[in-house]
Amino acid sequence: MSDTAYVQLLDLACGAFLLAAVLVLWRRELAVIVRVFALQGLALAAIVAVIAGHDRSAELGALACGILALRAGLLPWLLRRALAGAGPAKETRPLVNVAASLLGAAVLTMIAYAVSGPLVTLAPSPATHAVPVGLTVVLIGFFVLVTRRRALSQVVGFLLVDNGITATAFLTTAGVPLLVELGVSLDVLFAVLVLQLLATRIRDTFGDTDLDELQELHD
C-alpha cells in the first residue's frame, strides 16, 4: 500500500469516525443513534485495518476484525435489544438543545486540537496527525453523557468515549498490549451489559428512562 493511498484512506476513515460522533449529537431518535454508533464502530475497524495494512501485521488485522465484531456487531445488537422493549424511542428535549450541542462540539474539537499539540510534535507521522480526532470523539462522548436525558443515550455516550480512546490508542502506538486490549474490551462489554440491565430495571420501576427524574437521592 503506497503512502499516499495509506494517508488518504486513513483520513477518510478518521473523517467518517468523527462525522459519526457529530451525527450522534445531531439526531434525537434512539434507533438512528444506535445505527450511527454501529457506523462509527465500522469506521474504527477501518482505521485499524488501514494501519494494519500499512504495517503489514497480521495481529493488527485480527484485532480489526475483533473490533468490527464487538463495536459494530455485538454492542449495537445489545442496544437494539434494550431499545425494543422501550416505549417512545425519541430522545425528549435534551438538557442542551441541538444547536448549542453542535456549537459545543466545535469548541471541543478546537480544544482537542490545542491539547494534542505536543502529542503530534513528539512523533510526527500520518497516524499521529489524526490523534486529535480521537480526542475530539472522547470529548463529544463525554458531552453526550452530560447532556442527554435518555438512559440509552448515556450508554451510547459512554461507548463514544471508549471508541475515541481506542482510536487514540491505535493512532498513537498501534494499540496497547494485547492482554490489556482484551481486558478493556471485556470490561466495556460487561459495563454495557450492566447498564442495559439497569436501564430495563429503571424502566420497570420509574416508568420511563428519563434520568432527570432520578433525583430522590440528594442532600
Binding site: L95, L108, I111, A114, V115, G117, P118, L139, F142, F143, L145, V146, T147, R149, Q154, L211, D212, L214, Q215, E216, L217, H218, D219
Partner: protein, 672 residues
C-alpha cells in the same frame, strides 16, 4: 531516676490502674475505688511538681510511642509549677468525687475518663516536643469532653454545652497546631530543644504567625475574651468536681502555653505582641467579672470569674513580657511571679468554690441564686467553706487572691519609669482595669455568698437542704486549707515561683526576699506581711469583744425583724441576686445590653387596678451576640447553600467532571 521522674511515673501508673479499675469494679464500689486511686495519682503528681520546682528535672524520650513523631518528656521548674497545681487540684476533686452521687456519674465511661483526664493534664506541662504536647492536649480535651456530657440524659442543655466545648477546643487545637508546626518547619525536628535553637533565625513573619496562632489557641483554652464563649456554657453543665478540675487546673494550662511559647521557646516575640496579651487580659478581666456580677446561676457566675482571673494572669504575663523586652528584668520577674502565684491561688479558691457549688447543687437540686438562700441553717459547713472561698476570691486582705493581686499591682505600679511611652499609657489603664475588676469581684462574691447562703430560704428545696456527705466535705476542707495556707504564708512558695520564673528566663532569679513571715520586694520598695495583718486583725477583734463584754452587761433577747407594722416579713420580700445586681447592671447597661421585659396584667374591671406584674431579665453575652451569632449564621448559610452542590441529578454530577476535565486540559494546553 530523679524524684520528679519517679513520682510522675507513679502518677501515670496509678492513673492507668484507676482507669482500668473504673471499667472492672462493679457499680456499687466503683466511685470510692476510682476516687482513692485518682487521689493517689494526684498526690504523686503534686510531689513530682514540687520536686521539679525544687530543681530535680528529668528528660525521657519514647520514640517507639506515637508513630511518625515519638514522645519526649522533660520537666523544668516552670512545668513543675503547673504539674503541682494540677496534682493538688486533682487530689481535692478526687476525694470530693468519692461521695458525689450525680446523675450518670457512676457510669464506666465517666469514671474511666476522670483519671485519664488528670493523667493527660499532668503530662501537658511535661511535654518536650510539639507532637507530644499536641497529643496530651487532645487527650485532655477528649477526656474532659466525655466528662462534660456526663449528665446528658437529664438535661438537653448538656448536649449543647458539649458541642460548644468540643468545637471550641478543636478550634484552639488547630490554632496551636498551626503555630507549633510553622515553628517546627524552621527547625530540624519538632523537639523543644531544637525549636529553641531555631528561634533566633526565625523570619519575623513566621515569628508573628507562631506567636499569634499559639496565643489564639491558648487564650481559647484560658477562656480569654473573645474566645471565652465555651467556658460559661461547659462548666455549669459539667459535674461540679469536673468543672472544679477544669476551672482550676485545665484553664491555667492556657497560661502555661503562652509563657512556654512566648518566653521560653520563642525568646521575645516583640513588644506589641505583649501589649496585645496585656490588653486581652485586662479586657477579659473586666468583661468576665462584669458578666459574673449580673448572672444569677451560681456555677455560671464562677465560670465567668474564671475568665476574670485568667485575664488577670494574662495581665501579669503581658506586663512581664513588656518589661523583659524593654530590658527591666527585675520587674519582668516580679510581674511573672505575680501571674504564676495568681495561677496557684486561683486554682485553690476556684476549686473550693466549685466544690461548694456542687455541694449546694446536690442538696437543693438548683443552681439559681434567686431560689437559694438560708443554706446556713441546713448546710453550716458548706456555708463556712464557701465563705472562705468567697473571701479568697474577692481579693480582700486575709484572703488568698489579695496577695497575688497586691504583687501584680506592685509590678504594674513600679513599671512606669521602666519602659517607654507605650507602657506609660498602658500601666495606669491596666491598674484601673485590675482595680475595677477587684471592686466588681467584691460585689460579685458578696452577692454569691450573702444572697445564696444567708437570710431566709426562698424555695422549699433550699429550706430542705441537708449537709453533704463527709468525703465531699473533706475535699472542700482540703481546698480551704490550701486557700488559708496560701493566704497567710505565701513567702514559703515564692522561692519555688522564682525558680519557675528563672526557668522561663524572663526575669531575675528571685523576685522577692522573704523572711518567714513577710515578703520584701528585691530592687523595688514594697513589703507586705499577710500573717502580721491577720494577727493584728484578730487581736483588734478580740479587744473589741472584750470591751463590749465589759461595758454592755445586760442579757440579749431574740426579737422579730422590723416589718414597718405591715405584717410578718416573708422570704419573697428578700433581695435576690437579680435585684442585688440591678444597680450594677444599670450602671453598665450599655456594655451588658440586658434584655428586660415587664408586662403588667390589669384587672378585667378597670385598667387602673393591676393584677400582676411580671419582670423578666436576661443578660445575653454581648460578645456572643455580635461575634458568634454572625459567624454561626454564616456557617449555617454555607451549609444550606452547600446542599445545592448535590441536587441528585446525574447530569449535574457528570457536568462537574466534564467541565473540570476540559478546564484542566485547556490549562495544560495554555501553560505548556
Amino acid at each position: 531516676m530523679s524524684v520528679a521522674a519517679a513520682a510522675m511515673g507513679l502518677a501515670m501508673a496509678v492513673a492507668a490502674v484507676a482507669a482500668v479499675a473504673a471499667v472492672i469494679t462493679p457499680a456499687s464500689r466503683r466511685q470510692p475505688v476510682v476516687g482513692v486511686a485518682t487521689a493517689v495519682a494526684g498526690a504523686a503528681g503534686l510531689v513530682s511538681g514540687v520536686a521539679a520546682m525544687a530543681g530535680s528535672g528529668y528528660s525521657v524520650a519514647l520514640p517507639w510511642l506515637l508513630p511518625l513523631s515519638g514522645l519526649a518528656f522533660a520537666i523544668d521548674p516552670l512545668g513543675g509549677l503547673f504539674v503541682a497545681v494540677v496534682g493538688g487540684v486533682a487530689v481535692v476533686t478526687a476525694v470530693y468525687g468519692i461521695g458525689y452521687r450525680g446523675h450518670g456519674l457512676g457510669s464506666r465511661a465517666v469514671q474511666a475518663s476522670f483519671p485519664l483526664f488528670i493523667g493527660a493534664m499532668l503530662l501537658v506541662p511535661a511535654a518536650a516536643s510539639a507532637g507530644t504536647f499536641l497529643v496530651c492536649w487532645e487527650l485532655m480535651s477528649l477526656a474532659s469532653l466525655v466528662l462534660v456530657v456526663t449528665e446528658h440524659r437529664h438535661q438537653p442543655r448538656v448536649a449543647q454545652a458539649g458541642l460548644w466545648y468540643a468545637v471550641m477546643s478543636q478550634l484552639g487545637l488547630v490554632a496551636i497546631l498551626i503555630g507549633l508546626l510553622v515553628f517546627a518547619a524552621h527547625a530540624p525536628d519538632d523537639g523543644f530543644g531544637s525549636l529553641r535553637a531555631a528561634a533566633e533565625q526565625l523570619p519575623p513573619a513566621a515569628r508573628g504567625v507562631v506567636f499569634g496562632a499559639t496565643l489564639a489557641g491558648f487564650a481559647a483554652k484560658a477562656g480569654i475574651v473573645p474566645l471565652h464563649a465555651w467556658l460559661p456554657r461547659a462548666h455549669p453543665e459539667a459535674p461540679s468536681h469536673v468543672s472544679a478540675l477544669m476551672s482550676a487546673a485545665m484553664v491555667s494550662l492556657g497560661g502555661y502555653g503562652i509563657v512556654r511559647v512566648g518566653f521560653d521557646l520563642l525568646g521575645d516575640p516583640g513588644r506589641w505582641w505583649w501589649l496585645l496579651v496585656l490588653a486581652l487580659g485586662a479586657g477579659s478581666a473586666v468583661y468576665g467579672i462584669l458578666q459574673a456580677a449580673v448572672h444569677t446561676d451560681l456555677k455560671r457566675l464562677l465560670a465567668y470569674s474564671t475568665t476574670e482571673n485568667m485575664g488577670l494572669v494574662l495581665v501579669g504575663i503581658g506586663a512581664a513580657g513588656m518589661f523583659a523586652s524593654a530590658g527591666a528584668r527585675v520587674l519582668a520577674g516580679l510581674a511573672l511571679a505575680a501571674a504564676l502565684l495568681h495561677v496557684i491561688n486561683h486554682a485553690a479558691f476556684k476549686a473550693l468554690l466549685f466544690l461548694a457549688a456542687g455541694s449546694v447543687l446536690r442538696a437543693t437540686g438548683t443552681r439559681d441564686l434567686d431560689a437559694l438562700g438560708g443554706l446556713r441553717s441546713g448546710m453550716p459547713v458548706t456555708t463556712a467553706l464557701f465563705g472562705i472561698g468567697a473571701l479568697a476570691a474577692s481579693a480582700l486582705p486575709p484572703g488568698t487572691a489579695f496577695v497575688s493581686e497586691w504583687l501584680l499591682l506592685q509590678s504594674l505600679v513600679h513599671g512606669l519609669p521602666a519602659a517607654g511611652t507605650a507602657t506609660a499609657v498602658t500601666m495606669p489603664v491596666a491598674v484601673a482595669a485590675v482595680a475595677l475588676t477587684a471592686g466588681l469581684a467584691v460585689a460579685t462574691f458578696v452577692k454569691a455568698f450573702g444572697v445564696g447562703f444567708l437570710a431566709k430560704a426562698r424555695s422549699p428545696a433550699a429550706a430542705a437542704a441537708t449537709e453533704s456527705p463527709p468525703t465531699m466535705l473533706a475535699g472542700m476542707a482540703a481546698a480551704a486549707a490550701a486557700c488559708a495556707g496560701l493566704a497567710l504564708l505565701p513567702a514559703l512558695l515564692l522561692p519555688a515561683v522564682g525558680h519557675a520564673v528563672a526557668a522561663a528566663d524572663a526575669g531575675a532569679a528571685d523576685p522577692a526576699v522573704r523572711s518567714a513571715v513577710s515578703l520584701r520586694l528585691v530592687g523595688v520598695a514594697g513589703s507586705l506581711s499577710p500573717l502580721l495583718l491577720a494577727t493584728a486583725l484578730l487581736a483588734a477583734a478580740a479587744a473589741v469583744l472584750i470591751t463590749v463584754r465589759l461595758v454592755a452587761r445586760r442579757a440579749g433577747r431574740v426579737a422579730p425583724l422590723w416589718d414597718c407594722g405591715g405584717g410578718p416579713l416573708t422570704a419573697r420580700m428578700e433581695y435576690t441576686a437579680t435585684s442585688f445586681a440591678e444597680p450594677l447592671q444599670r450602671v453598665f447597661d450599655d456594655v451588658l445590653r440586658p434584655e428586660l421585659d415587664v408586662d403588667v396584667s390589669h384587672h378585667a374591671e378597670s385598667r387602673y387596678l393591676v393584677a400582676a406584674v411580671e419582670y423578666r431579665r436576661r443578660v445575653p453575652d454581648p460578645i456572643e451576640q455580635r461575634l458568634y451569632r454572625p459567624v454561626l449564621a454564616a456557617v449555617a448559610w454555607w451549609g444550606s447553600a452547600g446542599r445545592r452542590l448535590a441536587p441528585g441529578s446525574v447530569h449535574r454530577y457528570l457536568g462537574y467532571g466534564f467541565y473540570g476535565v476540559t478546564a484542566l486540559l485547556v490549562v495544560l494546553a495554555v501553560t505548556r
